[in-house]
Symmetry: C2
Subunit: 248 residues, 2 copies
């Protein structure tokens, strides 16, 4: 019935793009918690970061690996997951450019508590934990900004716990779509398109359900005219209806 076509997402490839180091470093000024820094201060900070390019699906670091770096996403999307022994992954967060991840502690005996994998090709800046800590010590405003972000993440995480323990899978998925929409939504002919490759498995790992159940619910949502979806992409065509589905 529907015309066969490729994903409507922006091409996640940035081959050849390979932003120059200068460009990548320049991006630091866009990072929320460095906004408060003067041009001079920013300059000094920039020198301490180094830049790397990753292809889609690359593992940036692994859970339980010794934690040495703090990273800042400059381009692309990254997902944070936590594994279990039986291969039942849990997807903890999806990151946009400007967000930091990795570790914050600089004690030296820390390990990463999750695994970071690129969801698209990506450019990432990194800095040693000790150096980052020095920056925070010397710039209380930056430290407070990082604290605010961390506190926000804690609240989101706790809200997620609340939903996991009190809502049906259907409502959980509706809520997740709404959250993703505010973070990754972009106007398109299909409605608010989530600018992010998203498989049923990813969605299931976020909602704490099986890929099959996620698929069934997404099919239902599509039938109800709430969303348009294809292979690894989703668009919300009727946000109002979705909001109603998510209600408790």
């Amino acid at each position: 019935m529907s015309k066969r076509r490729s994903t409507p997402l922006k091409n996640p490839e940035i081959k050849g793009h390979h932003c120059t180091t200068d460009v990548r470093l320049g991006k630091l000024s866009m990072v929320p918690f460095f906004r408060a820094l003067s041009r001079q201060e920013l300059q000094k900070v920039e020198e301490k970061f180094s830049a790397n390019h990753f292809s889609r699906g690359d593992v940036i670091y692994l859970q339980n690996e010794r934690a040495t770096l703090l990273r800042v996403l400059v381009h692309g999307k990254v997902k944070l997951i936590r594994h279990t022994l039986e291969g039942k992954d849990v997807l903890l967060d999806m990151l946009n450019p400007g967000e930091f991840f990795g570790s914050l502690r600089a004690l030296g005996d820390e390990v990463y508590t999750d695994t970071a994998i690129t969801q698209t090709d990506a450019c990432i800046l990194s800095i040693g934990l000790g150096e980052f800590r020095s920056i925070l010590e010397e710039n209380p405003v930056v430290a407070l900004a990082v604290l605010d972000i961390t506190a926000d993440r804690l609240h989101s995480s706790r809200e997620h716990i609340r939903r996991l323990t009190t809502l049906s899978v259907e409502k959980r998925i509706a809520n997740i779509l709404i959250t993703l929409c505010t973070k990754f939504g972009e106007d398109s002919k299909y409605g608010m398109l989530l600018q992010l490759p998203l498989s049923r498995k990813d969605l299931a790992d976020m909602a704490g359900t099986s890929a099959e159940t996620a698929s069934r619910i997404m099919s239902q949502f599509q039938q109800d005219g709430i969303i348009k979806t294809g292979r690894r992409w989703v668009a919300v065509s009727n946000p109002a209806l979705l909001k109603k589905m998510a209600e408790e």
Copy 2:
């Protein structure tokens, strides 16, 4: 069979105790993130806090109330919960003396994202959010300590999410008991006694299950000789076996 007796917990009442303001403020020096301050600095900080006493079961603040204060628990136990419309509460954290709670943001338009209720009688210090923020700005070391605590809480919260989505209720409860044991455990004739009044409902709200299911599992654990438990108290008599139960 078993002799009828009262809870083996320390008397949670502190009537008459009502620690003097001096005593309560003195406790600030015990708070992890103020450790780094000099006596002088601590003096200035102390003046900005005010002390209050609460009885068991008192609500310290309510979810969605305008957030104005940051609190530090000095004496007693406090639980943080998040409500749902249908009265199905979620228990997010249990606090020991020395821990902070409330809000961190000082934007003025913030509300509390959870409800704080005393689990025993309690002494609590509080400080205006703006004032606390000033302290953090002036003492980067304190700010970093608060950041570390917040980051730790985020990690615990995410680990909890992992368990909720991958483990059976039985294993979740076993894990929760282990965690509570390291935080509230105290040697006693019953084994490691959790120094904290804890009902089946509390446990259920932590594990994301029903009070009935929590009860069934606790009964089983007791039969297996893993724990001793009574009305609103629990002791772990066989930690090794409990650890085995919690394994994934």
